[in-house]
């Protein structure tokens, strides 16, 4: 621990010395009577000041939590000698909130007797998704007369991942094409399945249970039913993380990550394979996978999504080919504010991918600036964004703007309707 003298020592000793000298020079014992208590207090404090014997440990009760959950950080203190006053200060990372709504730090002061062990449970509320390090604790011990402080920093951090609460989605964007594995999407091809597709004449090798006896009776020859098989698909969630438009109510990146988590959970429930591409200053990807393990991998990847400011040009050629499988449905979550993200989506369309774009509106987060010119600029920006959406739609992508007030499910229904109108999705 680092020992520091307080400013009080210098003041006391200086004033005592002056008073003693003045008392000597003027021959006034009253000045000595005034100075003596200050000097004696310093001497007593010096004689009694010992480095505190203090052991401290920080623990967090879990490693994963949801937004809104409370996590308990426990600081365990063990004193070998008496500590008159010990300040315990916990640094609360941005995105979390300490007890009593403390935004940045939370602190308390305790007294420890010799040999006493104290556990201080501190409830921290998770306000934003992300990967955190908790347990940044500063200790400051004081002696009885507050002449010295001893400081120590505990840097044994505990990892905590806070996941967004997934929205319950009952309808998703249906893919244009499916893959071979069995799943929940009705494939346009013919094969074994439940959904009726067509009738055709009986051929050797057809199963008797496929025979449609009513059609056979009407046509005078054996007719069999053809069906659409149920297949899975590959879904790639494409996050544009070049820029984050942040406002008092949230940010576009927060919305994108929350939506991606909800979509991933919903598609994986349908036995689809889901991958993620975080496309920004720092590019991250995860190849499509299925099952609960894939969900956790996806969430872990999403939690590490951040905006890294860079001016370097990035295209989708920076991505490994297997992250964007052929026939995959790509759901892009983007605020359409960075030209590199915008160009990447055009590139995906040009390569023939099945693309659905959820345009997370930055207008609400950017806030309304006052004045006539600001209003005009806002309207021009909205017009530019609308033009951009039309360009995507002309190239065959369904683009829907997501204002902050709407639920993700409403946006997905609108995307699906848009794709049906454009003939991109099965009716």
């Amino acid at each position: 621990m680092t020992r520091r003298p307080s400013a009080k020592i210098a003041a006391y000793v200086g004033v005592a010395a002056l008073a003693l000298l003045a008392g000597l020079a003027l021959g006034r014992p009253e000045l000595v009577a005034v100075a003596a208590p200050l000097a004696v207090l310093v001497v007593a404090g010096l004689a009694g000041a010992r480095d505190p014997e203090l052991a401290a440990e920080v623990a967090v009760d879990r490693e994963r939590a949801l937004v809104g959950d409370q996590v308990t950080v426990t600081v365990t203190l063990q004193a070998g000698s008496r500590v008159e006053r010990l300040e315990v200060l916990l640094v609360v990372p941005p995105g979390m909130e300490g007890p009593d709504g403390a935004p940045r730090t939370w602190a308390t002061a305790v007294t420890l007797a010799a040999g006493e062990e104290r556990a201080l449970p501190i409830a921290v509320t998770c306000r934003r998704w992300g990967a955190y390090w908790l347990g940044d604790v500063h200790l400051r011990a004081h002696d009885r007369f507050r002449l010295f402080t001893w400081e120590r920093h505990l840097d044994r951090h505990a990892p905590l991942k806070v996941f967004p609460v997934p929205d319950a989605l009952w309808a998703l964007v249906a893919p244009r094409e499916t893959q071979l594995p069995t799943g929940s999407h009705v494939a346009p091809q013919r094969g074994d399945g439940i959904e009726f597709a067509d009738l055709r004449p009986f051929l050797p090798g057809d199963r008797p249970r496929s025979v449609n006896w009513r059609a056979t009776a009407r046509r005078g020859g054996l007719m069999v039913n053809q069906r659409h098989p149920e297949r899975a698909t590959d879904v790639v969630l494409f996050l544009d993380s070049f820029l984050d438009v942040r406002g008092p109510t949230g940010s576009t990146l927060d919305q994108a990550v929350g939506a991606a988590a909800s979509l991933a959970a919903a598609y994986l429930r349908q036995r689809d394979r889901v991958g993620v591409v975080s496309f920004g200053g720092f590019v991250q990807w995860l190849q499509p996978g299925s099952g609960q393990a894939a969900l956790y991998r996806l969430l872990d990847t999403l939690m590490e999504t951040q905006v890294f400011a860079t001016v370097a040009w990035k295209g989708i050629r920076h991505l490994p080919p297997r992250t964007l499988p052929a026939k995959a449905l790509i759901v892009a979550l983007t605020p359409l504010v960075d030209e590199r993200g915008v160009a990447a989506l055009f590139d995906l369309l040009a390569r023939g991918y099945d693309l659905a774009v959820v345009d997370i509106s930055p207008l609400a987060h950017a806030g309304a600036a006052g004045g006539e010119w600001a209003e005009l600029a806002g309207r021009l920006w909205a017009l530019e964004r609308e033009t951009l959406r039309h360009r995507y739609q002309r190239l065959g992508a369904a683009v829907v703007e997501w204002p902050d007030a709407l639920h993700l499910q409403q946006v997905l229904l609108e995307v699906e309707a848009c794709r049906r109108r454009a003939g991109l999705a099965p009716r």
Binding site: V13, G14, L21, P29, P37, A39, A109
Partner: protein
């Protein structure tokens, strides 16, 4: 401790310290009259402003505030003549009480919640220090009244005491680092 109560603690301690400083600054004025009283009132006012600033906002002004209050008292003592001021221990205890309350006000940060035992222990130490200062002042005055050799011996004791006090500054006013225990 709820947040609003925590936020009020530094202000309460600071105001208490300022009240004590006001008493210490005003009390010596009763001893003088005429133009000197007016001049000393200005000094007392300056001391009070410095004391309030030290207690409420700028902790580093504690030393200057004490020096100004002490200077005012010294002038009163010089004007007093050979008579011993029996109230000197009270003034010494008052100065110490002011300084302790002022440093407590700076120590009580609004964002730090002190547990009740911490506050009680601190209050006990401050009260005991003030009482001990009073007793010590009385002892010093009693000792001064005793016959203790010639003037040279007294001067030697005073010089040693003053030099020792100054040496304390050099010894303690430096940070030292000790290794933190593992665990």
């Amino acid at each position: 401790m709820p947040a609003p109560r925590r936020a009020r603690a530094p202000l309460a301690f600071g105001l208490a310290a300022t009240a004590v400083a006001a008493a210490v600054a005003i009390a010596p004025l009763a001893e003088v009259t005429g133009p000197l009283r007016e001049a000393l009132a200005w000094v007392a006012g300056l001391g009070l402003v410095l004391a309030a600033a030290a207690a409420l906002r700028v902790g580093s002004l504690l030393g200057p505030a004490l020096v100004v209050l002490l200077a005012e008292y010294t002038v009163v003592l010089v004007r007093r003549g050979d008579r011993i001021d029996a109230a000197a221990p009270l003034l010494g205890a008052g100065l110490l009480l002011y300084a302790e309350l002022a440093s407590w006000a700076r120590e009580a940060r609004p964002r730090v919640a002190d547990e009740r035992p911490v506050l009680v222990a601190r209050a006990v130490v401050v009260a005991a220090s003030a009482l001990a200062a009073l007793g010590l002042g009385v002892l010093v005055l009693l000792a001064a009244a005793l016959p203790a050799g010639g003037g040279l011996a007294r001067l030697a004791i005073g010089v040693v005491a003053a030099t020792g006090t100054l040496a304390l500054v050099a010894v303690v006013a430096r940070p030292t680092s000790t290794r933190a225990p593992r665990g």
